[in-house]
């Protein structure tokens, strides 16, 4: 086993451990903290995939913004979340069936694919070409439409979320 493989396995196992803790932890705040751990582990895996930009974007957006937002929302809805609450649905054992089924199906289908065990990389060794990405984002033959559509998506999310959550009188509890 090479050093890279050991690093990969450590990062992957840590991420999976954090993900399992996210699912089974009862206190919501601790669950959010475990989520931060899982996101950090995923950032390490992004780094191992030779991506530069998305490592920092993962930390900046997921940990710096989304996790903080989740923590704020946990604080807002915290009153009823103490330990003596039931954390799973009554028939939670049944959830193993779809989850396990999807996992088995995915691995079965993927293992029949030729490129499954390829080790050769085609990505540039010094990270993605951010300049080309930026140029393609605004070029009419490139990804101009997704670029503008995503801004409309963000606008819709902003307006919708404020409309739903903001209550003019008193600003909520």
């Amino acid at each position: 086993m090479s050093i890279l493989q050991i690093i990969f396995l450590l990062a992957a196992l840590a991420t999976l451990f954090c993900a399992v803790k996210v699912v089974i932890t009862t206190r919501m705040m601790h669950s959010a903290f475990w989520l931060v751990g899982a996101l950090l582990g995923i950032a390490v895996l992004f780094a191992m995939l030779e991506s530069r930009f998305f490592v920092v974007v993962q930390v900046l957006v997921y940990i710096g913004a989304i996790a903080i937002l989740i923590i704020f929302a946990v604080m807002l809805t915290r009153k009823i979340m103490d330990e003596n609450q039931q954390r799973m649905n009554q028939l939670w054992g049944l959830a193993f069936i779809p989850a396990g089924g999807v996992l088995a199906g995915l691995i079965y289908i993927l293992s029949r694919w030729n490129a499954f065990n390829t080790t050769a990389r085609t990505a540039p060794v010094n990270g993605e070409d951010i300049e080309a990405l930026g140029k393609a984002l605004v070029s009419p033959t490139g990804f101009m439409l997704p670029f503008e559509v995503s801004s409309i998506l963000l606008l819709a999310a902003l307006i919708g979320a404020i409309f739903v959550s903001y209550d003019r009188k008193g600003g909520g509890r």
């Binding site: 991506s51 930009f53 809805t77 609450q85 999807v102 990804f143 995503s150 998506l153 959550s165």
Partner: protein, 102 residues
């Protein structure tokens, strides 16, 4: 060198942990966090395909960026809905939301 299969199996396991949480947990906040895990598994898949098979193309990168935007939008609206539900019903358990029941 690490084979592509390791990343794909890792992403599949992560996706299924998230799926299990989405189905099994009662708390809506927790369901949302598990959705984040599933989206991250998708991102790992996309980036590993980019890294191993389509390193010269930009589609995968744009796709990942769009998934980031979609995840942000989903979190924002989802949390807003949870907060609004909490305000009206003082609960965030999915089972207790039965106002549509006849």
């Amino acid at each position: 060198m690490i084979p592509l299969s390791w990343y794909l199996i890792f992403a599949a396991i992560l996706f299924c942990i998230g799926l299990f949480g989405v189905i099994a947990r009662r708390n809506l906040m927790s369901v949302l966090m598990c959705l984040e895990l599933m989206l991250n598994a998708v991102n790992i898949n996309l980036l590993s395909f980019w890294s191993y098979l389509y390193g010269k193309d930009l589609q995968a990168l744009v796709f990942v960026a769009i998934i980031f935007a979609a995840a942000a939008a989903e979190t924002a609206v989802g949390l807003a809905l949870i907060i609004s539900v909490y305000r009206r019903r003082v609960t965030v358990n999915a089972n207790d939301l039965d106002m549509m029941k006849g």
